[in-house]
Amino acid sequence: MRRFDGAILLCVTAILMAGLAAISWQTVRSAEAILLPALEQKADTVARSLSSLVAEAVDYGIPLDRMVRADEVLKDAIAENGDFAYIAVDDKSGRTLAFAAADAYADIRGEDDAAMRTVTAPIERNGQTIAVVVVGTPDEVARTVVRELWLDVAVLLVVALLVALELITFAFSIPSAVMMRGLAQRLDALRRGDFRPHLPLAGSGPLADEVTAVDTAIARTREDHRLLREEAMERGDEAALEELDRLAARHQLEVARHEPPVSLVAVRAPVFLFYLAEEMTRPFLPSYIESMARPIAGLSVEFVIALPIILFMALVAFLQPSLNGWTERIGRARSLRGGAVIALFGYLGTAGATDMSQLILCRAITAIGFATVFVSAQGFIVDRTGAESRARGIGLFVSAIMAAMLCGPPIGGIVADRLGVSAAFVMSAAMALIAYLCALVALQRDPKRTTPPARAVRMSDVMAVLRQPVLFLLLIGCALPSKMILIGVCFYFLPLDLAADGFQPAVIGRVLMLYGLAMLILVPMISRVSDERSKRVPYVVFGGVLSGLAVAHLFLWPQPWGGALMVLQIGLAQGISTTPQSALVGELGRLHLPELSEGGIYGVFRLIERTGTAVGPAMVALIWGAASGEAAVVAMGVLLVVGALLFGLASTGLGERTAAAGAGK
């Protein structure tokens, strides 16, 4: 590979993958060595327990072949141990004296014993074996254990690999690596004959000198071309102009480069690590709050549990508009670091909280830090990208968040299972600290701003947008409930429901990670295919309906599969609708409210979306307290389906008009 930075990145990734794969392989081997004997031990324990029981009866003088209701005792043992196919008591000659089997294995004995692992325990009298208890476990049970083990290890491999890739990306955001990548990018572009100018890279040393030399050569060639073209025009030399145009087209001598700066990647690691800190708390936060919840007059227990989540989301939603200007004044990099430190104290406080009021206060502090980091990171990108490269810059930010959404819940769940919830919050604090350090090392100082700061969203903007029926239905019917179902059902109701069913945080974490997985895979794909404007409305409607229908899984399948399928379907549905929905907001805004700036329309959109994250858990908790959890989940699903269908009806024929609006833009 000619691009040496890419070669290093690829090789390091391959080496890491090989290392992680070796660890996974050894994990399966080690696990098989203890789990399969443990499975056999279960059968052995039951066989030995039953053999002692029968031996005791024989000691009382009951002959083996006269024992009454022995089959029933065996049947009870089968009912208690779902893994067993059958249990039998055989005498010395092999004659079966008592027998019970699971329904699927009623005729198993003598027919298909080869597909069984059998454990026998002798029934002894006076030191002589007079009979045996035989417990048969289907081979399929062991195969299922191994299959689940591989699935577990594969999930962890993906998670560890994603974290590793994010960390490697960070390694390439330190100044000398940025310089190296910048140089590689330049040489690679020149090799392709691409003479578009690159964004300048600040630094010193031989690499920086090389970058300057290359940039100077490119600038000189372009300037030469410009002067020559001017002269050709002065001379009216059509042939020369034609030749120069051909040359310019081939080598892109007259166009600018619309790529986000190489240094932008530096924001990715702090954002990933910071979001990882918060996402790690998803599997156990609702149960942790529940453990401290005390009744408050006039509020249901469910609402009390939801309070810290509602407060967190509300603070994040409503602080963001004012934080934009504030972080701009203080400096994005500095604000990001400040936000990480605030959240660090919030996590530490949450870990040590002893009652509900402390917990609420600490979660509020975390929310302030969270909102500050979010706004600062987004602002860092916006400040360093132009209109043409902003989408790619924001894509960098969004993909880091999605990767954190995928990795955070399983890691947090495992840590909470292994070390306890308080330790998991301390680990979140550690992640916030590492995010701070990454930001300190890698984030450049903020450039002087030459344009006035964008104004915050006003109430009048919100009213103007919501007065348009189509925009109202898009924002209130689709965007708002999609966030409500995500936070209210997936991140509030489901962890509580699964914990009540006895599932550990590690299992809950693996269920919740499916949302991040679906989004990470689907969003980039849908971004490409939904660009055809006429398709956007169907994508939004389909995504909304699919998301609303996802709640049915909770009623169709046993947990955790019902929850897992619901989260996966919501992830897929929102992966389908998120990008087209965001694009539609801009297009409908231009069509219906040409006087309102695009920034203003998107400000209203984000505000309403974030409001949904606070309203969701509040609404679920209210209905849950007043009726039942099932009613709350169904209400969320119905709200989404109805909202999406109403928007679909209101948008009939919108494709052509938005296309026109898009073309106008």
């Binding site: 324990t45 491999l157 330190i174 004959g193 001379r235 495992i414």
Partner: protein, 228 residues
């Protein structure tokens, strides 16, 4: 360029170690959870079975403290599984009424016991009142010994993977930077006299030559028109 290699390696090594350590930890913790869950289910089954027998006796009017026959059952259940430390029947006030371990009889049940992994089942009367608990205690040292074997295997592979990966990454970085150095030290001058990496020269020369050809065409003809 040596400094660049060193900087990259100084940053990459800790990240590599952190990534592999995270992978090893997550895998070990997952195996540990599966194993403890499996043993716990076994202990829970034993506890439920004993609780069920005690409930039958309760329903016949025999108070829990008077169910002396449970003693034999507890001994039998404990003997059936080498992992079990004790199976206890605990009264509602926390006193151990019967135990497979005679020493524990009459003692107070400890909720946290560093030597045991506990699983419980309630003994509920026909009137739905909890009369006591059956507590099965698995030996923590035995559990830890089994997990230590699994953990040891994962740790060994993780350390070996880390060493090999560190070596491989060092080779990759050194070779890549050496390649870069070679490319950068192989220099040539453009037509304008700029010293740039030689690989850039042909593409710059292509444009320079095209420009020069136009200029020479103009030089061979007449000077530019200066307007009317």
């Amino acid at each position: 360029m040596g400094k660049l290699s060193l900087t990259l390696l100084v940053v990459l090594f800790p990240l590599l170690a952190a990534s592999l350590a995270l992978g090893a930890y997550l895998n070990y913790a997952s195996v540990r959870n599966s194993y403890i869950e499996m043993v716990g289910t076994r202990m829970q089954t034993v506890a439920r079975r004993v609780a069920s027998d005690a409930q039958v006796a309760l329903s016949m009017g025999m108070p829990l403290a008077g169910q002396n026959a449970l003693e034999r059952l507890l001994t039998r259940e404990a003997a059936a599984d080498p992992m079990i430390r004790s199976v206890d029947v605990v009264a509602a006030d926390g006193t151990v009424l019967f135990s497979s371990d005679p020493v524990r009889r009459g003692t107070r049940e400890q909720e946290s016991d560093p030597m045991a992994e506990r699983r419980m089942a309630s003994i509920v009367s026909a009137f739905d009142t909890t009369e006591g608990l059956v507590v099965t205690r698995a030996s923590r040292p035995a559990l830890d010994a089994a997990l230590a074997r699994a953990g040891g295997g994962i740790l060994t592979v993780a350390v070996a993977a880390l060493s090999l990966a560190a070596l491989a990454i060092a080779i990759v970085v050194v070779l890549a930077v050496r390649g870069l150095t070679r490319r950068l030290t192989d220099r040539a001058a453009t037509a304008a006299g700029e010293e740039v990496p030689a690989e850039m020269v042909p593409v710059i020369a292509e444009i320079d030559e095209a420009h020069a050809a136009i200029r020479s065409r103009w030089a061979a003809s007449r000077p530019p028109a200066t307007g009317s």
